[in-house]
């Protein structure tokens, strides 16, 4: 082992040096900061450059140092669980209420009592005791070929199960959180048996096995492989506002609508939201940051690139989103998306929806 001892020592030294001195994106590591420097650590499942700009704005305004760890929501949850009270995380930002519920259910979030936030956010879009708060809205709806169908053909989700849609539907895999949350609300509205029959009928109407993302389903309509796709609104808007002429043509040859569950029940609206972790100790700072995200400036940066809808109707919507048809949000408490999530996957599995 003569050879290896110096090699080991050398490598350990190298790692020590690398870890200590070189944070590839941020040369001023947090240790270098002054002791009174306030730090806010975010765990985020979003990966948008505009989010980074937004965080920098807050840093510049307040002098707070924002640290971000981006990963998938499930991975962030395991990391948080491992770190426990020692976690550096103050806030978790995750797309989908189902994900936020999972953090709450694991006991990783704490209630933030804030009259200002409670007054600003409609009750549907925040957890009743303050475990999470909505930041932006997202709609799951139906994209279709307007030469074959009209918006009225998809007034309710049940319409996708009818026989005249045989061989026409394109949709992504069932394990995707958007499908799980939609199914969770179908279960809540119609019951498990009806939900499973609905999913089974959709599987029978599929033009191809579930594959790709939402954008791929819209493209498949334009290519003529199917004429109906279940997609989130912002994928369609992104195609419509894309720099590529090809993408614009895809959006132009399709239309988008937002079905209800039963007549007058309202539509499936999900959120991107934020939760305060149990490890956070500066709750005032957390509240200040959340309020900043809900400010006009915050809402604008959160939605301009993603094409989500701002949480508040009073905030201006990003370019392109005006093409989304008018809708009424369902009043199902969003925690249901999380509570029914495992059941949703089980029913999808039984229905043969891969």
């Amino acid at each position: 082992m003569i050879k290896r001892t110096p090699l080991f020592a050398g490598l350990s030294l190298l790692i020590g040096t690398v870890v200590a001195c070189s944070n590839p994106t941020d040369p001023d590591s947090s240790e270098a900061a002054s002791p009174e420097q306030r730090v806010l650590t975010l765990y985020s499942s979003r990966h948008y450059d505009s989010d980074k700009t937004l965080y920098e704005l807050f840093e510049n305004e307040t002098g707070v140092d924002i640290q971000v760890r981006e990963s998938g929501a499930s991975q962030l949850l395991e990391t948080l669980r491992s770190e426990g009270d020692q976690s550096p995380a103050d806030l978790v930002i995750a797309a989908d209420a189902g994900s936020l519920w999972r953090f709450k259910d694991a006991g990783l979030t704490q209630p933030l009592q804030s009259e200002a936030l409670a007054a600003a956010i409609p009750a549907t879009f925040r957890e009743s005791s303050g475990h999470w708060f909505g930041l932006a809205r997202r709609l799951r709806g139906v994209a279709y070929d307007p030469s074959r169908w009209a918006a009225e053909d998809f007034a309710q989700w049940g319409a996708l199960a009818s026989e005249d849609k045989a061989g026409e539907i394109c949709v992504r895999a069932s394990s995707n959180i958007y499908n799980l949350s939609l199914m969770a609300e179908v279960i809540e509205r119609l019951g498990a048996d009806a939900a499973q029959s609905w999913a089974t009928a959709i599987v029978g109407n599929m033009a191809r096995s579930p594959q790709g993302g939402d954008t791929d389903q819209i493209r498949a309509i334009a290519a003529g492989e199917c004429s109906i796709a279940i997609v989130n609104h912002y994928y369609w808007i992104r195609l419509a506002t894309s720099a590529s002429a090809n993408d614009q043509n895809v959006a132009a040859s399709t239309a988008f609508t937002v079905p209800e569950f039963t007549e007058g029940s309202g539509s499936h609206v999900n959120i991107t939201g934020v939760a305060v972790t149990t490890a956070a100790d500066d709750l005032a700072l957390a509240e200040e940051f959340i309020a900043f995200l809900l400010s006009e400036q915050g809402q604008s940066y959160l939605t301009t690139e993603t094409k989500e809808l701002p949480l508040l109707d009073t905030s201006p919507a990003p370019a392109g989103v005006e093409q989304v048809p008018a809708f009424v949000a369902s009043d199902t408490p969003l925690d249901v998306f999380g509570e029914n999530q495992a059941e949703a996957q089980r029913l999808f599995d039984l229905a043969g929806w891969n």
């Binding site: 082992m1 003569i2 050879k3 290896r4 080991f8 490598l11 790692i15 690398v18 870890v19 200590a20 070189s22 944070n23 590839p24 994106t25 990966h47 640290q67 971000v68 760890r69 981006e70 990963s71 998938g72 929501a73 499930s74 991975q75 949850l77 395991e78 990391t79 669980r81 491992s82 976690s87 999972r102 259910d105 992504r172 895999a173 394990s175 959180i177 799980l180 191809r208 096995s209 579930p210 594959q211 790709g212 993302g213 939402d214 954008t215 791929d216 493209r219 498949a220 290519a223 003529g224 492989e225 720099a243 590529s244 895809v250 999530q341 495992a342 949703a344 996957q345 089980r346 599995d349």
Partner: protein, 533 residues
């Protein structure tokens, strides 16, 4: 190979090996232990009753089909390249290794886009024929056979490299004898060349299949329900990482079956001729027709598995005018992590190889340990690391996160480093060691003065393979990297999971480019060593 397994107290040199076996297997064992001991609950009942069989059947189907693909085309290509002269032979002999630089998930992005109904191939077909998208059948990449094709196209170089090396090392005596006995070219390949090369080919194939078994990115993107996808699904949709770990056990058992099959085949395969007077045979000439077929085979292989998908990536990056400015920190993080990971994995591979050299039991044990890590999906190893962290009460600080990540790299990839080292060792004459021993050299002195210098060529190959593998690693890096340490793979995945493929293309392309340099070096090195045996 020495198949005798002897049991005795570990010697001084065996201790480091046992320690490294412990290190390499701890993450996977922790995850499996947690999976088996913590109750599976209703989720496990559901998966066991409804999903386990389909997941397993799909996984085995994909693995078998990709194995057939990797044998059917790359092995004949390796034979032709090492035995015959034909137009482009020199180019093909090294270029056929290039697909190794493509991660499976990037190959999946590229081919799913190329072959989808809105993609360029089908669009061209519709334009040419006037058909609509439902008027014709077209191969679907988003299917189990499609996944097998994608995995085979990125992993076949493992089979190609080992096959080519084995064919090049064959002495002319046996082949000449076969020729003089009237065997035609086909019979010389099928009845003489191939059987002798089977152990080497099996080693390469085993490595490729274990890598394929651990795939998550490509299968998930293509929507194929393999065990790898089931593992992540039970974690993401059901929120039960323990169920995920249980499914990982099924995956590791499948990979274990491949491992033992390869061991068996390697053990009973033909032996290499090791006489001192062996010479590499001159390459034969092919008729014009056969030359054309050989060139066509190699061209198609390279076009389908490398140039077409890479061109598509370049096209998409250019079309969207993606900016490369903020990719520099990613590249830096990627290179630092890959280099450090390579260093540690190489040390582990050295310890394994040297300890196994004279000890059948250790040889088996080290190979099994390396294989267990290699077959485990990165996400499961990451989970094991997080459990270990939880048990020891440590916080995931930046330095601990990097150490954990490097540990997982070692656990996952040591196998890829052990194979080239073993291949080098197998070729060395035993009597060197005996001669040194008779001259009174101690064991450590023999390692220092004989083994390490002789292993140098294998070390180089091992380091390059490790570097490329770690460069492409996604799930564990995604889980464990500290803030500010995003790698190219992490960024490409982040964009792709947000369905921003245009933006995902540039980091994907950079992964391929960063992997290309080591792959080219490896290729040059292999050709070089074959010319000067």
């Amino acid at each position: 190979m020495r198949g005798v397994i002897s049991w005795r107290l570990p010697s001084a040199t065996a201790l480091p090996a046992l320690l490294v076996i412990f290190m390499v297997t701890l993450p996977v064992c922790t995850a499996l232990f947690a999976g088996l001991t913590v109750g599976g609950g209703s989720t496990w009942d559901h998966i066991f009753t409804n999903r386990l069989l389909p997941y397993t059947a799909t996984t085995i189907f994909v693995l078998v089909l990709s194995a057939l693909l990797m044998l059917a085309f790359p092995v004949p290509a390796a034979w032709l390249v090492s035995r015959y002269e034909f137009p482009g032979r020199r180019f093909f002999s090294w270029a056929l290794i290039l697909p190794l630089a493509m991660p499976g998930y990037v190959m999946a992005y590229a081919w799913a886009d190329l072959a989808a109904s809105p993609g360029p191939l089908q669009s061209a077909l519709r334009d040419a024929t006037g058909w609509s998208a439902r008027d014709y059948w077209f191969p679907n990449v988003s299917s189990a056979p499609g996944l097998a094709f994608v995995l085979a196209s990125t992993l076949f170089p493992y089979v190609y490299i080992t096959a080519r090396t084995a064919f090049s090392m064959q002495t002319s005596t046996t082949l000449d004898a076969a020729k003089s006995l009237g065997a035609n070219a086909w019979e010389r390949f099928w009845r003489v060349g191939l059987p002798v090369a089977i152990p080497a080919i099996c080693g390469g194939l085993c490595l490729a299949l274990m890598e394929a078994a651990a795939d998550y990115g490509a299968a998930d993107f293509l929507g194929v329900q393999t065990l790898g996808v089931g593992i992540i699904r039970s974690w993401n949709s059901f929120g039960e990482p323990n169920t995920a770990a249980r499914l990982a056990l099924a995956l590791i058992m499948i990979a274990g079956a491949f491992f033992f099959a390869a061991q068996y085949l390697q053990g009973r395969g033909g032996t290499q001729h090791t006489g001192s007077k062996w010479q590499t045979p001159k390459r034969g000439r092919l008729s014009a027709r056969h030359s054309a077929i050989a060139t066509l085979l190699c061209t198609l292989l390279l076009l389908i598995c490398f140039f077409a998908p890479v061109s598509r990536l370049i096209w998409l990056s250019l079309e969207t005018r993606a900016s490369a400015a903020d990719l520099v920190p990613l590249l830096r993080a990627t290179l630092i992590l890959s280099s450090l990971g390579t260093g540690f994995a190489l040390i582990a591979a050295f310890v394994f190889t040297l300890a196994a050299k004279n000890d059948g039991g250790l040889r088996f044990g080290t190979r099994l340990a390396a294989a267990a890590g290699y077959a485990a999906p990165g996400a499961v190893l990451g989970l094991g690391a997080v459990y270990i962290l939880r048990e020891t009460g440590q916080a995931l600080s930046a330095s601990i996160a990097i150490l954990l990540l490097l540990w997982i790299y070692v656990s996952r990839f040591t196998s890829a480093g052990v194979e080239p080292l073993n291949a080098t060792l197998d070729r060395l004459p035993r009597n060197l060691d005996n001669a040194a021993r008779s001259l009174g050299s101690g064991r450590l002195a023999r390692i220092w003065r004989i083994d390490l210098p002789l292993l140098a060529p294998g070390t180089f190959a091992a380091a390059l393979i490790l570097f490329v593998e770690i460069l492409k690693e996604l799930p564990a890096t995604l889980m464990l990297r500290p803030t500010g340490w995003d790698t190219l793979a992490v960024r490409a995945h982040a964009y792709a999971s947000d369905e921003r493929f245009a933006q995902a293309m540039l980091p994907s392309l950079l992964i391929v480019l960063a992997g290309l340099a080591p792959v080219l070096l490896l290729s040059w090195r292999l050709s070089h060593s074959e010319r000067q045996p």
